[in-house]
Symmetry: C2
Subunit: 688 residues, 2 copies
């Protein structure tokens, strides 16, 4: 995008924009001085002056945008920390109440079920009534915005407010509802980023327009990083999920902002008394001398294939559920009108099934998500622990998972079977919720089951080799988590995320192999990823998702989908025609043709120059032609109607905010701008 | 690139290519059967049949290219392992000889100096005489190839052979010459990749042309990964150094191939008896309980700034040296005619200065590069060790660095001061050599010096706080290595490389911060990076380097640099004109204009269709016009002469191997293909 800044056309566009902005600011300045309703004019002027001086001082060290990136990282980390703290408090309140009611099973049942049900109902009706755009993960929408399509509803202040409160309610519903934080938090960060970038623009008048897009890219990266305090994998995950091409000039800002965010996040947890120094979020204690044996790599590869297969099953169920909720009339009506009631009912059902005195004891339902993950990643073998209970070093991780008299595999198996459909059901809830962390925990359980199985087989002496006795099931859980979440989202970076979350680099290669194999299986047969399925279901104008759903659609020739003939002017147009064109169109670039009959395209004129032309004609009452007064800029890139939508999209992304003209052998056929591209993609999405 | 495959023009191009290829294969088949000189026709046919069957079986599981990626990873890992083994043997031979001569200083001196001098002279004259393109790092050339420019000399088999042997000689010269392995190894990998991709093309006839480019991208990534056995950071480093945009569809193949490479590399070292299980290359034993204190982050930030400043100094010296070696007549003559002599002399000088009985004792010259790095990354404080020598756990790391009666800072300081100019001098050697690892070690020494300084200050009781006593200087060395090498190459991924090489994730955030700050300082003022300076000095047609050297050059309008008017045909051209055009041009797409006078561009015809047209005309002796027989394809994208070179380059990268036409208001001005772009960039490079 930067490359086209030097183009003559765009430079003039910018000059004109500046000119218009100056005019506007002049008028607004006059308005301020003349407007008696704006108070404290003097003090506001002083504050503004101070701010300008400050920005000069700061700007001398490095570009203002870098301060913006740092502030973005720090702000999102504080948001993330505040959210975690509130959620912890709410979860503790629930636990405290539940413990107080010990002895009365009925009251305990109501406490266990109604608390999350109420929270979900509140979150749902809150978002339904205040900002309906705040439901769901938000990642599909952020992806679409990063692809260049403007969606102002999704960056509004109300949305931010609703999403923040709604997400706290969802997370406080705990592991019964089993939903995560990543997606909505990324969405929140992009909103913060958009506001910060507007602020930077206010301070720096000569700021480029593209800075907004850049800030969104960085905000998406910093969202994941601040969510986990994992700067490297946060950036890579967001790059992989969000975009299909990544410009390396965003690399440094992304890492800078993510490092600021991760540092703040970890320092906040140090200062709040969680630890003595910044550490990994889920600290593990894997043996470092011999983390794994070379032959175990085959088992890790098998785990990857297993995770891939299960992810295909999960994604299939999820797609079916999305389709069902759209086509089933009862479901559809509930989801459009009675969102709060529906959320409450589903949450009640999920909570009732996980009630600890009933089926919940078979799936460790008392654990929070974080505790679940910590217990699954434990490096000690559960099976050996349950045999000789006297040598238990720390009994917590096992306590919830083992039942007296039954093997440790039973709760894991029940957990896996039940959570599969419960998770699919939870994904239909119309509230702000993330779907990455549940999948991550599910994968960890899958890996743990395999690891425990291997440990059991080796301990019963089926293998004579001594080395297998000291096998580490936690490593399998880690690899499973990375592989399953990678397969569901069609990304590789969860491998790195798993390493960064636990601070364990010893298992890097097996984790990477498992994730790659799971991805290979999940991507085979052109199946859409989790986020692609959401994009398609919501009919978002996101080209890569469309391509996955129907590979032929993006190859539609542009000529077939072009809109109505644009407003155009002939070379010899007079003031009346120009006036008509200015009234009929709002585009900044208006095409000029040789004559209305030949339609041979010559270039374009700028709207601002047309306005000046009209102004001149009105004051001087001269009859002049367009080409005598206005400069006709040559079109920079001309498409043919045979170019595909995909190509037009790529070239539009490359040239930034410019207009593309479509011409067939010199004759103008239409033009493509971002709003036009949005319309085209939405039309294509309807055809699926 | 993929997007344009569906365009009608390119599809026909491919069909025609297939048609031509089939014709060729038919004729070659006939040739084989009729050619009496080709032996074992039957057995060759059998082998070919078996191979076809095998490829069918393999192709049923996944695409053939994935086997190619796996083989690429495994092959490069084997190459890397073989190289390491030969270098170790040669280094041991040198050490053995040196030890045997203990007592006779003069003989020891000759052994110490002549061994590396001879090796360097051999490497230099070998590469000079067999393939002059094999000298240097190779990364600037690989970058240029990845940007789309074809440079067949750099992928030849002789180059591969020369580079492999030359690199072994360079590395065997040891830490006196102080050169590394990464750059040339990446170049080697791209050559292997190019051959494998040709092989894949032979097996799969319907393979797309773009696969060669894809294989090169992956080979560059797998080169770094196999060199260190670090899959994640290898991929990221290569992406960051090589390209300015990265397509995410390369992500999975890159990681897959890198994981195969890293796994093979580590398994090979396990099987050769280096360890029990795949481990990090430079295993460290940092304390995990409290890796660092929050306040130390400020020190890490300071270290980053220090590294950035020193890197600016180093890069400045390097640029001066490049300029000097080009302008100084004596130097220039030596470097062009007497390469072997020059290399031998410089190596002798460097070795004489590092002779252990003389100045060498002040800079731990007996250590190999690997030992140097291991000793610098040691987590124990050297200063405390030298105080109470009785509690030494493993004395090796200290022995070489400390001198009786002098503080431990002296050798470090001498090392830093001396190695700076020695490294700059070594960079002028005309032999295959990498420049990343020396910079990495240098940065580690810089970090160690700061770390030891901090440890000394805290141990002398200047700070009353107890926590500072247990400070870990190894962490500073690690951060320094990442920051300095990142600053020199203008990349962030050395931060991850440092983590992956040592398997230490505990220091992730401080390392990242130090690297980012060092980068910020090194990139300020639009200074070129190490590789950019090499590109500019070699006048390679690499656009991003050009932009760094002279930001205005890539904004030159295309119209100013267009070559001669291309061969064109008018709509009504007859066979004679077509014959003339076919003789005059070798392009696959020949532009068609309305008439030679008007020059209005209509589209293009394919060379293959023109040949068929001529064939028809010759056989049927009909006088037909071009537009009656051949299909005139519309031009997909039309540039204006006001588009900049930068834009033309971006669009050319986007549309792949197609031809771009430049037209001004419909009139053809010229065309841009990759060879034309290469010429334009080379012309621009000469202007600097």
């Amino acid at each position: 995008m930067k490359s086209l800044d030097e183009a003559p056309g765009s430079e003039s566009v910018r000059e004109n924009n500046n000119w218009e902005r100056e005019n506007q600011s002049e008028t607004s300045h006059n308005k301020i001085l003349s407007d008696p309703w704006k108070p404290c004019r003097r003090s506001r002027a002083t504050v503004k002056e101070c701010l300008v001086k400050l920005s000069c001082c700061l700007g001398a060290v490095c570009g203002m945008e870098w301060y913006g990136y740092a502030v973005l990282g720090i702000l999102t980390a504080i948001l993330s920390f505040l959210m975690d703290m509130s959620v912890t408090k709410l979860l503790r309140a629930h636990q405290w109440l539940y413990m107080k009611l010990e002895g009365n099973s009925l009251l305990q049942f109501f406490c266990w079920t109604l608390y999350p049900a109420c929270l979900c109902a509140v979150a749902s009706s809150f978002s339904h009534n205040i900002c309906p755009f705040s439901t769901g993960s938000g990642i599909p929408e952020v992806r679409t915005m990063l692809a260049g399509i403007e969606m102002p509803h999704y960056l509004s202040l109300t949305n931010m407010f609703t999403k923040f409160l709604g997400l706290i309610c969802t997370l406080a519903a705990g592991s019964t509802v089993f939903l995560g934080k990543v997606g909505p938090f990324v969405h929140l960060c992009t909103m913060v980023g958009a506001y910060l970038s507007n602020l930077c623009n206010l301070i720096q008048a000569d700021k480029k327009e593209e800075a907004v897009g850049e800030m969104l890219v960085i905000a998406a990266a910093v969202g994941v990083a601040s969510c986990f305090g994992a700067p490297v994998s946060g950036v890579l995950f967001s790059v992989e999920v969000m975009s299909s091409h990544f410009a390396l000039r965003h690399y440094c800002p992304c890492f800078f902002s993510a490092a600021c965010g991760a540092l703040t996040f970890r320092l906040l947890s140090v200062w709040s008394g969680d630890g003595e120094t910044p550490q990994a979020l889920f600290k593990t204690n894997f043996p470092t001398a011999v983390p794994f044996y070379p032959l175990e790599i085959l088992l890790f590869a098998f785990l990857g294939l297993l995770c891939g297969a299960v992810s295909c099953c999960y994604l299939g169920c999820h797609r079916w559920m999305l389709q069902f909720s759209k086509t089933n009339p009862i479901f559809n009506k509930m989801l459009t009108t009675e969102k709060g009631l529906y959320s409450g009912m589903v949450a009640f059902l999920l909570a009732a099934l996980t009630f600890p005195h009933c089926a919940g004891q078979y799936m460790a339902s008392k654990h929070t998500m974080k505790q679940l993950l910590t217990s699954l990643l434990d490096s000690r073998q559960w099976s050996s622990q349950s045999h000789n209970a006297s040598v238990q070093l720390g009994p917590e991780p096992l306590l919830e998972w083992s039942l007296p008299g039954s093997p440790v595999y039973l709760p894991l198996a029940v957990f896996l079977l039940m959570k599969m459909w419960m998770l699919v059901l939870a994904c239909t809830l119309p509230l702000p919720a993330g779907y990455f962390m549940p999948v991550f925990v599910y994968g960890a359980a899958l890996g743990r089951l395999l690891g425990e199985g291997v440990a059991y087989v080796s301990s019963t002496g089926l293998t004579s080799d001594q080395q297998w006795a000291s096998i580490n099931p936690g490593g399998y859980a880690l690899a499973g988590a990375a592989a399953f979440s990678g397969a569901v989202t069609h990304t590789v970076s969860p491998a790195l995320l798993a390493i960064e979350l636990t601070g364990q680099f010893s298992h890097a290669v097996p984790i990477l192999i498992a994730t790659l194999l799971a991805n290979a299986l999940a991507r085979s047969g052109h199946r859409p990823s989790f986020y692609d399925a959401l994009s398609i279901s919501k009919m978002l104008p996101h080209l890569p998702s469309l391509r996955k759903a129907s590979p032929r659609l993006p190859s539609t020739p542009v000529g077939q989908v072009l809109g109505a003939m644009p407003v155009q002017l002939q070379k010899a147009a007079g003031p009346v025609e120009v006036q008509r064109a200015v009234n009929a169109s709002t585009d900044t670039q208006i095409p000029v043709v040789d004559s209305y009959e030949s339609q041979i395209i010559l270039g374009f004129v700028l709207r601002a120059e047309l306005l000046m032309f009209l102004h001149h004609c009105n004051t001087e009452t001269l009859e002049k032609h367009l080409d005598e007064v206005c400069c006709i800029y040559p079109t920079s890139v001309l498409l043919s109607p045979h170019n595909t939508v995909q190509e037009a999209h790529s070239i539009l992304s490359l040239v930034g905010a410019q207009t593309l003209f479509v011409a067939d052998r010199g004759r103008l056929l239409g033009l493509i701008t971002w709003p036009e591209m949005k319309r085209i993609l939405e039309d294509l999405a309807k055809e699926i």
